[in-house]
């Protein structure tokens, strides 16, 4: 396939907070401005804009893509909004990649902005309509059901305990203590997780990422332009995405096959044959602690049912052999849905450039991966980055 090579050359992010005084547009502007400043560009240098934002129902604003366009730099530009639930934050940069890889544009600004706090009493209520309106909604489901059901099936299938899974939350919230955007950085113990309020067994409060407001942005450029902007481009060498059935109760809940398909697509494009060897650092999507393990397996970064062994061996710690969520992840940095995935892309970008500050992993990694996941637990979105 012939396409332009695409690099990330700049990044911006706001703090992630439970409630931001700024509107979604203002958050988008703050992140986008920082992304441009970070690489010395202005909006004049940007040829198109790719926006990611999750359900309109969070904001009660229909056509949220259009609503956010001005703050995102979309004014009188080719502008596209992308949305696959929680998978959006990696879906939007994939579409930015298309814009540049196709040769149509040489620069693209990717912005992901999310404001969940407008929805009262809690944005969780906005998720009710993701369930089938006739066969499921009359049972009064809440979003946590599907996570609890999936987590229980995963635990049962491989004999994994809640204690083991809680270690993911402990690790990520601790990692977040070094992230300047973090909403829930904490030093906690497995006991704290197990003793936190049971929401939907096996899910306790500290197994879950918070609702958040925040935005993130990156600047993409084609190879010849990127080399003029920075001497440290980070290349998007593989992209993949995949969607499974909406009849979610008929799926194998212990294994995210659609994540595997997305990963395989990205690996093939990046020429990766042995992901466990070649992917040195990753940001799997972790809205719930078990999801980090579930996704490591779907991403082929661990054998089925074995991600927990890497966790227990300390391999997934920031100073371990295969750091997972060195940023602090959704569990620690926060989870403003669409912005979370892009925060993960930014973390790998910074790590590969050696610019992650206190979060920097040892070993000068050359190749990393960011993944997001969402919809009715049915979509996987993956990018493979190299320096």
């Amino acid at each position: 396939m012939a396409y332009q090579r695409v690099a990330i050359v700049g990044a911006g992010i706001t703090k992630f907070v439970r409630r931001a005084q700024e509107t979604g547009k203002e958050l988008a502007f703050q992140a986008a401005k920082m992304a441009l400043d970070s690489c010395g560009l202005t909006m004049k240098d940007i040829e198109c804009v790719s926006l990611g934002t999750a359900p309109d129902a969070f904001d009660g604003v229909h056509m949220k893509g259009e609503y956010l366009a001005d703050g995102s730099g979309g004014w009188r530009k080719p502008y596209m909004r992308h949305f696959v639930g929680g998978g959006t934050g990696v879906f939007a940069p994939i579409h930015g990649w298309f814009h540049v890889a196709s040769g149509m544009f040489d620069t693209c600004l990717v912005v992901c902005s999310e404001k969940m706090s407008s929805c009262h009493p809690h944005p969780q209520g906005a998720f009710k309509t993701i369930f089938d309106h006739t066969t499921e909604q009359p049972l009064n489901p809440t979003l946590i059901w599907i996570f609890a059901l999936e987590m229980n099936r995963y635990m049962q299938t491989y004999g994994i305990t809640k204690e083991e899974i809680a270690l993911v939350s402990v690790k990520n919230k601790k990692n977040a203590m070094d992230h300047p955007s973090a909403q829930l950085p904490m030093e906690i113990t497995v006991e704290d997780v197990l003793n936190s309020e049971v929401l939907a067994w096996p899910v306790n409060r500290l197994d879950i990422s918070p609702a958040s407001d925040g935005a993130a942005a990156i600047v993409l450029a084609s190879e010849h332009v990127a080399k003029r902007i920075t001497d440290k481009p980070v290349w998007i060498d593989g992209v993949g995405w995949n969607l499974d059935t909406a009849y979610w109760a008929t799926r194998d809940l212990a294994y995210p096959r659609y994540v595997e398909k997305a990963a395989r697509m990205a690996y093939e494009m990046a020429g990766i044959k042995e992901p466990q060897k070649e992917i040195e650092i990753a940001e799997p999507y972790d809205p719930f602690d078990y999801k980090e393990l579930h996704h490591m397996e779907g991403l082929l970064l661990a054998d089925r049912g074995k991600a927990v062994e890497m966790l227990l061996d300390g391999k997934t710690q920031r100073d371990g052999d295969r750091p997972m969520c060195p940023s602090g992840g959704a569990l620690g940095v926060g989870n403003p849905i669409a912005a979370t995935g892009l925060m993960k892309v930014i973390e790998i970008f910074l790590q590969l450039r050696g610019e992650a500050g206190k979060r920097q992993v040892p070993g000068n990694p050359r190749c990393g991966l960011a993944q997001a996941w969402g919809d009715l637990m049915q979509v996987g979105t993956v990018v493979v980055l190299r320096r």
Partner: protein, 173 residues
């Protein structure tokens, strides 16, 4: 670029600031009503539920007997072929014990937790589960793999809805 060198945006406020009027906001309660058409497959499914039966749809290419029924096979991407009655028994594929309501409010003190489960229905293809609730069981007695049977509303109270099945309860096999 290190993030620490930038002044990051987003200004946090507390929910109490909002309640105490320290921040201005405009509340809006949408009053929209939707009437969702049941469609062909789910229309028949609901009509059968009213009669106390569960019906599935079969694809003669992949030979899957599918629940909930659908007029197309998403795997083979072709129309499905026949209606097939399945049983009102099955096995618990997975379950949860939930103390939270749909809007994240907590259940009241003394109220029993919600017991959602994925139930693989007998007669449908393996792995074909539906979302429903468990009942007449203590949370600590629920096991993945346990056999269950539908507990139906009285015929005169059924209205052609998934809730015509009140819940599934454990049965001995």
């Amino acid at each position: 670029m290190e993030l620490e060198r930038f002044e990051l945006g987003a200004t946090h406020y507390k929910e109490s600031d909002l309640k105490e009027g320290k921040l201005l906001s405009l509340p809006w309660t949408p009053n929209l009503k939707y009437a969702w058409d049941n469609g062909v497959a789910i229309g028949r499914y609901l009509a059968e539920l009213k009669e106390g039966r569960i019906i599935a749809r079969k694809c003669n290419k992949c030979r899957r007997i599918m629940l909930p029924p659908r007029m197309f096979c998403e795997m083979c991407w072709r129309p499905t072929d026949e209606w097939v009655y399945v049983k009102d028994t099955g096995r618990v594929n997975t379950y949860s014990v939930c103390y939270v309501n749909w809007d994240a409010s907590r259940i009241k003190k003394g109220e029993k937790p919600h017991l959602p489960a994925v139930i693989e229905i007998d007669g449908a293809s393996p792995g074909m589960g539906i979302l429903h609730l468990l009942g007449e069981v203590e949370p600590e007695d629920i096991k993945i793999g346990m056999w269950v049977r539908a507990v139906w509303k009285k015929p005169e109270e059924r209205e052609g809805a998934i809730t015509d099945i009140l819940y599934f309860k454990p049965v001995r096999r």
